[in-house]
Structures are given as C-alpha cells and as structure tokens.
Symmetry: C2
C-alpha cells in the first residue's frame, strides 16, 4: 500500500460581506495526515495521532463522507487508511473540519493518479461539511483544496472561482474559548433583509472580488464590510465593537467574524501589524477572563498539497 | 472662446445581478456635443441641434446641475456654451441623460486643462442624474465617463472601480415603445428580500466582477442572473420570459432588463449573434404591435472623449 503525507491549510470563510460565498487560505496552520490506498481491496480506517479529540466512530468523522463521495464517483473499490498527524483545534473557526476533508480527498486523488479536478475535489470535501452543518457548503473546503481566495458563485450548478491573493498580505486570527454553535449563529440571522442593505452588501462583494482580482489591497480593505450578518452575530463575541476599533487603529485593513464565529480575523498588509493585532486580540479576550488562541501569518495561494515525509 | 466636440457613450446599468452597482459601456451609440468655455466670464447657455426634444429651460436640462457642481468645485467663474449635436433618444434605457452629463463635464474638464480626476467627473455628472431620479446615482454616468465596466462599491464615501471589458464582447439592446416610469419601476420592488436570495445575488455579483476582471466571458454569462429585481420588473415588458428564451436559444450569454427598463439587453461573444438577437427582439415587440428601436455593437472600453471637428 502506497502512503503519502498531505497538508491542507486552515481557512477563513465569509470574509465580511462575502457571507456564504467567499473564503480565504491561511499559511502556516492546517491539518497534516498520512493516507494510503490499495485498489481492489475495500475498507476505510482512520487513526488519530494528532493529539486532538476526534470521534472514535469513523461515521462521525468528516473524512468518511468526503472519501466515500469520491469513491462513489471513482466507481472501483479502494482500501484506504488515514492517519491524522496534526490537526487544527476543532471549533476554532478557521476551517478545522474542512482542512481534514480537503487533505483526505486531495491525497486520495494523488494516490489514484489524479482522476478528478480541483473543483470535483471541493465537491467531495463538501460532503464532510454536510456531516456537521447539515448542508454541503464550500466556503472553507474551497480554499482548503484550491488555495488563494475562493468565490462560490452558486451551488446549482456548483460554480467556484479561484482568485489569487496579493503578495505581502497577512492575517491575524483569534479563537476565544467561547462556544457558539453553528445552529445558534444561523438562527440569529433574519430571514429577510432590507433591499438597500443587500445592495450595499453586493457592492462590497463586487469590490472585494475586484480587489483580489486587481491585487488592490486598499480596495480589499475598503470592501470587507458586512452590513447584513455582523450586526447580528457580533453579540456572541464579548466586546466585539471595542476590539474592532482597537484593531483598526492598530493598522488592520479590516476585521470581521471568521466563519460563523466565535473566532475573529483581521487582515493587514504588514506582518508586524498582523502580529501586533493578534497580541491585541489575545489581551482583549484575556482581560475578559476568556482564554484565547491566536494565529498570525501570511495569506496563502497554496491549498492542499503533498509534503515530504 | 475655445470650443471642442465631445462624445460620451450610451451605457447599460444594473447588468442583472449588479442592480444599482454596475454599468457597462456601449460602442457606436452616444451623445455628441460642442462645448466652449471662457474663464473670467459667467453664464451657461445650452442650444439643442440634436433633433431630439429637450427642455427649453436649462434648469430642467441634466447638463446644468452637472456643470454647476463642477464650477462650484473649480471655484472660479467660467462662461460655458453647450450645443447638443447628437443625442440618444431620451427614455431609451441606455443612459441618455448620463451621456449628456458625462460629455459636458468631460469637455469642460478638458477646456480647463484637466483639474479633475475621472472619479470627480463622475461625481459631478451624478448631479445630472439627481435632477431626474431624485438621488445621485452613478451606474450610467460611471461608465459614460470612464468606459469599460464600472462597479460602484458604495456612495458613502463614493467609491468606483473600473474594470476592462473583454475584446470581442457584443451587445444587443432593444428599446420598445412602452413607457415605464423610473418611479413605477422602483415602487414595484419589495423593501425586504429573503436573505437566501440576497446571498444568491451577491454570489453572482462576485462572479460577474471576477468574469470581467479575469476576462472570462463564460463566467460573465453564467453570473448575469438577477434573482431579486427581474422577477418584479419583467411584468412591465410584454412577453419577457418568452423573449429571453428565444434570445438565449439564439446564443446570447445572458439577457436582462437595461437599467429600470423597458429596454432589454443581451450579451454575446459574436457580433453576428448580437445582430440576430437585435432582430429577434425587434420581431418580438413588433408582433405585439409595439414599436421598437434596436442597437447592436461592441461593448466598449472607451468612455467620454474629445472628437475631431
């Protein structure tokens, strides 16, 4: 049985105005797994050496539906062994489940000599997201597979556009030790929104996409506002407005909620600024007796990839 | 007094999903005027040799508030004489008023040795739109001044992004002899829309902007859907659904309402297809006893410009 090691990066979904349609790839944080495949045999085995708590039952592991969707499309039996080696903390808001699914499908595609396109890999990995969130969505698995910034134009039919990220473009992410369920984060949102707010939001989505496509960092910063979702979800994050003010004063281009929260992320065009923002986020939550993990690094054009053993 | 001749092109606003935030420049149709300026003197005179009906009173002409806004910013007296030579038919839905305002401010800026940026010219020309529509908007004057495709990210502060249009990208526009007032077209829209529709729409706006930025004509076609406004406004246009089906079957990348209607436009990557679509649109309205003017041509990267006398 041939084995390879695969890394898939952490990701941030939504990007403010890009609620449910955009995601971005982080450098320096992600999942590492080893995957082996044997054609003609059957069975799936997942071992966990990552040190993180993961479900013992493989039916509850996001990797399982992702790989099964891929095998169904492949149409021939394959025995697969996966060993999780390093794992983003589950619930951290930077695409922990997406990184696992993305790494698994990317690795299996390599082992099978690449029968599937990047877009197809995203669609398989989405089945892992469906296991958790109920509906398949691609705003984390898209960038985890493809890298860069990803726009999901629509799901019927599935249409995904990858945009490059500018060089020298950095992130800070803070994961406060608060639990906000995806269900609660969904239910707090209104079912209807004013048309005027929607227009404001799609103007910003257009600006954000143009900013990435034209590599205009200032335009990215100006566009990353969320008139629709942030007002409802920020209530889950203690002192959100105050933190945002501090972070913007420190030189962030923008700050918003990462995915459905409670993590927050900020973007900056300077690594030192991103580091200072991460420290500021940590102090903010700690001063409220909330533990906090922070990350700072470069926004990445590289998605899932094979790494040397 | 120095005189120059200035042309500003017709434009299509909204572009389906880009309701209130996008517009596109047409080649081969527009307004032509002669403008003269004399510093130190005062007064504004507008003559109409275009053959189109225009208000006699200059206070009712869109050019007046546009030029006055520019002079207020200039801060010194200038006497201006404008002669309208050729004019898009008012109410045709391809930015007739915007072309006049754009040509006037572009021309005066040239005569004054270019004290203002393109973005500032758009802001002056918006004052002409405010005279008609009540609120200043830039989805026609933006492309009429700057050319290409224009995204208005937002108005507070005013932020406009110009994107190039692909080569070999063509339009067909039909202007049926129906009157739909901008007020009626506005009032038929709901004040609130489902969040899910809004997300669908901003996914498409992102796709449309990415399509122009990446010069991906197929993506432009896939993205130019309007889940929000078209369902309400198409009722003003007899046989809209049937026409759209015919036009798409003929090879159009997309068809939608031009601005607030009643004109419709379609895009195609072939000039012959655009011409056949224009003919089809004409037959469609004529078979319903509705007169119709059609245009077909290239989508243009060129906005307002000085032309040789």
């Amino acid at each position: 049985m041939k084995h390879i090691r695969v890394f898939a990066p952490g990701t941030v979904a939504n990007l403010g105005c890009g609620f449910d349609v955009m995601g971005l790839t982080l450098d320096g944080v992600g999942d590492l797994l080893e995957i082996g495949a044997e054609e003609g045999a059957e069975g799936l085995e997942i071992r966990n050496l990552s040190g993180m708590n993961l479900p013992e039952n493989i039916e509850e592991n996001v990797i399982t539906p992702a790989l099964r969707a891929m095998l169904a499309a492949y149409g021939r039996p394959v025995r697969i062994e996966v060993t999780m080696l390093e794992k983003i903390a589950p619930g951290s808001g930077i695409g922990s489940s997406a990184a696992s699914s993305a790494a698994a499908v990317y690795g299996l595609n390599e082992l099978l000599d690449r029968p599937f396109s990047g877009k197809e890999l995203v669609e398989f990995a989405m089945m892992g997201e469906a296991l958790i969130g109920g509906t398949p969505h691609a705003d984390n698995v898209g960038p985890a597979v493809l890298g860069g910034v990803v726009l999901i134009r629509g799901y019927e039919p599935f249409d995904i556009v990858r945009l490059p990220v500018p060089d020298n473009f950095f992130y800070a992410v803070a994961h406060p030790a608060i639990v906000v369920s995806t269900k609660d984060a969904r239910e707090v949102l209104p079912r209807e929104i004013p048309l005027s707010k929607a227009v404001e939001q799609w103007g910003n989505v257009g600006g954000l996409v143009a900013g990435f496509a034209l590599r205009d960092v200032a335009l990215i910063g100006r566009s990353m506002h969320d008139a629709v979702v942030e007002p409802y979800r920020k209530g889950f994050i203690p002192g959100y407005d105050e933190l945002k003010e501090l972070v913007l004063a420190e030189g962030a281009l923008a700050m918003n909620i990462a995915g459905s929260g409670p993590s927050v992320f900020a973007l900056a065009s300077d690594y030192g600024v991103a580091q200072r923002i991460a420290a500021q986020m940590e102090r903010h939550f700690q001063s409220r007796q909330i533990g906090c993990h922070t990350y700072a690094g470069r926004v990445s054009n590289a998605g899932a990839r094979v790494v040397e053993q």
